[in-house]
Amino acid sequence: MTIVSMTVNGTAASADVEDRTLLVDYIREHLRLTGTHVGCDTSQCGTCVVHVDGKAVKSCTMLAAAAEGAEVTTIEGVANGELHPMQRAFNDNHGLQCGFCTPGMIMSGIDMVNRYKAAGRELDEAAIRHELEGNICRCTGYHNIVKSIAQAASEM
């Protein structure tokens, strides 16, 4: 067992977990933040994406212990009083159907826009599609997810 301490959505959290506990299980089962999902067992689907120290991470690929001291943001911590522009864009553009991939898509989308803005690069449709390589959606055919991220990119 290991004691892990990190900041999750702005609040300090600390727990005694088994060494092999994955960050996603820590978030879902210990912190009971169930907006972060598990859609696969091979790190392919992206339903588990969270931000660790400001960067998108598949939380199924990281041990909770490896996030010691980190600032973690999950989908529950994205809205700041009002919806984040990325969240609003998904609603505006019908970027979700069953909603299962959506938290991961939003977390990946925010990260993608931040990275492109920081690098001064244009996030066009081809770039969005390329950047979504690690996120699978079975419902939307991606059409409206791409539109959602493009709208948020213009607003963020």
Binding site: G39, C45, I106, T140, Y142
Partner: protein, 786 residues
């Protein structure tokens, strides 16, 4: 009205999903919850010789190890297929026994043999690995060809030759005569590849037994919680219906795979009673590939005959369908009444005959997956039309135009009676949107870049609005396929609509509310849709087969009709006017042009205070209805795909995709278009990427996202989705349904485009780069382009 029928209202349900507050089954944690892990067969076909559980039972956290023998002793029944199909000779289908935990034999890799219940998921999984099952392996039949070969291993003792049924529809003699006299016959062998449904939320179940009440509660990833309760109760004898509550909370996609009741739900319920603990199980993705019912898997030989003018004279189809190791809940209906009945396509065909041979194999059970039978039919019809046009030197669009059904109602030779449509209108719209006329220039431009460009069309039709109960009953269905609704107006005028439909991405909380808002002239926000809980909602049939619009909404409309009658009577009584003079708008019930008006809430209050109601009227304002459709509905459309292929690698890019659909009346175009987008991506996935592969020994080869290629954002383009709608003639709002169309029309459109590009018609799905590259080499097209 901006919130009513036809308005692209943003979804009411989105907020909880975009903020991480959705409540899916795996998010639920009960007090006193334990975890189940299944011991699964590593062999495709074997006798179980013994199960040694004592080591596992002694492991940390283990509460119980349970086997099939105990399940049988406790009287839990076998899983069943609920649609009886008879063979040509009148004999019933050969349904083999399927126990939720195998006894005697295992029949596919993943067949559950035992279950471990433990304090934690990790402990359950560790103990499941320690359960020692000794097997003696048996010969395996992992494909249709292997199962039907002479001397094939017998999978079920009551299914000689592994045949489930040998069924037919249509007039065989007339069809053969027509083909014999045809000026041209196009003949093809077609395989429809096996798919894994892959809803992003894996299946999950949380079962709780309350011994004080002798009552069970099941949270489950179900598309149809009432059907689940009925089947769990009536057939599997888990608990009587009134002692079993099934709740399907937020469900993360279904596509058919969450219609069925699987062994895991049965076992979790039973284990919760055995252990007096809540029992939770959630599939890992590998388990989903191993156990979720797969889709498609047909092998077909088809012949279509034409007269000298290019009119179809006859169509003969012989299909072999793989059912996997057991008959899943609706498996038998898929390659019969959901397939052969659509083989007339959008065309006037005077003679059709279809034979279907269904067989067992040592693979996971196969059942309905988005489209279910209709994509297979559409693929056969539209591949033959395209190929015939090319063989006869005709324009594929013109060949279709010459054969379209033009008058309605139209009785096909295969049961269905099409009520409405303007097939040519949809084709014209799609051709215009796709700039069909400009294709040659685009092809030439692509050739300059070293790319092979091709165009493909498909005019699909499907049968939705499943289904008229008496009709399906006469065809063998074990259930009626109506839908129910209850509309409750509260004393303050807000409205709850309880529906037997279930939303797992379709947006019912918005669209159903739009219908009611428009009907009563009240705000969308004052309406709440309630679904998915057998304790709250009256019996209903659930969501599949694009039925929630045409059937589910029709039930709501019927309940609204009854509410409206009572509202008018109450308001007329209070306003001293004629009930027929009243209109309902702007949250008022009023006589236009006068000052006679009541607030909508005042009518609600009057109904519940009951101080001043018409004589003999009961208090309250709530009505229920059951709607049984009088016919199927027939959404159709024309899809056009354009592809560009790199002749050096065989890689295919879908560069343009245009859909023109006829869905009848549309409630929310934004949501309808989203359904089409998702369906097209699934169809493009089938055409280019996806295949569930088993090797000869029955081992799944593509059982993870490392091996099974899901369509990703870069694999599909943005889509052009247009509508040319004709009203459905057989339900109150004229809705046809839209949930499966995209997945039905897109595979033939994409394959027709690829074969056009490479000049070689011999390509099967999925058209991977390797296959396309080889086909280019075989046809020599690649050399020409290079």
């Amino acid at each position: 009205m901006s919130e009513g029928i036809g308005a692209p209202v943003k979804r009411k349900e989105d907020k909880r999903f975009i903020t991480g507050k959705g409540k899916y089954t795996d998010d639920i944690r009960m007090e006193n919850q334990a975890y189940a892990a299944f011991v699964r067969s590593p062999h495709a076909h074997a006798h179980i010789q013994g199960i040694e559980a004592s080591a596992a039972e002694g492991m940390s956290g283990v509460i119980a190890v349970l086997t099939g023998a105990q399940l049988t002793d406790d009287g839990i029944g076998n899983l069943i297929c609920g649609w009886a199909i008879s063979s040509k000779d009148g004999s019933p289908m050969n349904m083999g026994a399927w126990s939720a935990l195998a006894t005697g034999k295992v029949r596919y890799v993943g067949d559950a043999v035992a279950v471990v219940i433990a304090e934690s998921k990790d402990e359950a999984q560790a103990a499941a690995e320690a359960v020692e099952v000794s097997y003696s392996e048996l010969p395996v039949a992992a494909s249709i060809a292997a199962a039907l070969a002479d001397g094939a291993p017998e999978i079920h003792e009551n299914a000689p030759g592994n045949v489930i049924y040998d069924w037919e529809l249509g007039d065989g003699d007339a069809t053969e005569a027509a083909l014999a006299g045809a000026a041209h016959v196009t003949e093809m062998d077609i395989t429809n590849n096996r798919l894994a449904p892959n809803a992003m939320e894996p299946r999950s179940a949380v079962a709780t037994y309350d011994d004080a009440e002798d009552h069970y509660t099941l949270y489950s990833t179900s598309q149809n919680p009432h059907v689940a309760r009925l089947v769990l109760s009536a057939f599997y004898q888990v608990a009587p219906e009134h002692k079993l509550r099934v709740i399907a909370p937020d469900v993360g996609g279904g596509f058919g795979s969450k219609i069925y009741i699987y062994p895991e739900e049965i076992v979790c319920l039973w284990a919760s009673m055995k252990t007096r603990r809540s029992v939770k199980w959630t599939a890992e993705r590998t388990e989903s590939f191993l156990t979720d019912a797969h889709g498609r898997d047909h092998v077909t030989r088809a012949r279509m005959g034409f007269d000298a003018d290019g009119r179809i004279v006859g169509f003969k189809v012989s299909t072999k369908a793989n059912f996997g190791a057991y008959m899943s809940l609706f498996s038998s209906a898929v390659p019969t009444y959901l397939y052969a009945t659509l083989l007339s396509g959008t065309y006037d065909i005077p003679a059709i005959h279809c034979e279907v041979l269904a067989c067992y194999t040592n693979t996971v059970p196969v059942d309905a997956y988005r489209g279910a039978g209709r994509p297979e039919a559409s693929f056969v019809v539209e591949r033959l039309m395209e190929t015939a046009a090319r063989e006869m030197g005709k324009d594929p669009a013109e060949l279709r135009r010459a054969n379209f059904v033009r008058e309605f109602p139209y009785q096909t030779q295969v049961i269905m009676n099409y009520d409405s449509g303007d097939f040519e209108g949809n084709m014209n719209q799609a051709m215009e949107a796709a700039d069909w006329a400009g294709f040659a220039a685009r092809k030439a431009e692509a050739a300059n870049r070293g790319k092979l460009r091709g165009v493909g069309m498909a005019c699909y039709i499907e049968a939705c609005g499943i289904a008229p109960s008496a009709a399906v009953g006469s065809l063998g269905a074990g259930v009626g396929l109506w839908e129910s609704a209850e509309v409750r107006v509260n004393p303050v005028g807000t409205i709850e609509v309880l529906t037997g439909s279930h939303s797992h991405g379709q947006g019912h909380e918005t669209t159903f509310a739009q219908v009611v808002a428009e009907r009563f002239g009240v705000p969308l926000d004052s309406i709440q849709i309630v679904h998915g809980d057998t304790d709250k909602v009256q019996f209903g049939m659930g969501t599949y087969g694009s039925r929630s619009g045409p059937v589910g909404i029709s039930a709501i409309v019927k309940a609204c009709d009854k509410v409206e009658v009572k509202v008018r009577k109450i308001a007329a009584h209070l306003l001293e006017c004629d009930p027929d003079e009243l209109v309902m708008e702007d949250s008022q019930v009023k006589v236009p042009g006068t000052n006679k008006a009541l607030g909508w809430h005042e009518v609600g209050l009057a109904a519940y205070t009951a101080h001043n109601l018409p004589a003999d009227m009961e208090p309250g304002l709530k009505e229920g209805a059951f709607y049984d459709p009088e016919n199927f509905t027939f959404p159709m459309g024309c899809f056009i795909a354009e592809v560009e292929i790199d002749p050096g690698t065989g890689k295919t890019d879908v560069v343009k995709f245009v859909a023109s659909d006829d869905f009848g009346v549309i409630i929310n175009p934004m949501i309808v278009e989203g359904q089409v987008h998702g369906g097209i991506a699934q169809g493009v996935g089938q055409a280019l990427l996806e295949e569930m592969v088993y090797d000869e020994s029955g081992q799944p080869v593509s059982g993870s996202y490392m091996d099974y290629t899901m369509p990703r954002a870069e694999d599909v383009p943005s889509f052009v989705v247009e509508h040319h709608n004709t009203r459905c003639a057989t339900n109150p709002l004229g809705i046809k349904g839209c949930g499966e169309a995209g997945a039905i029309g897109s595979p033939p459109a994409v394959i027709n485009a690829i074969t056009d590009a490479i000049g070689n018609n011999d390509i099967s799905m999925p058209a991977t780069s390797a296959k396309v590259w080889a086909a280019i080499r075989a046809s020599g097209t690649g050399m020409a382009a290079e």
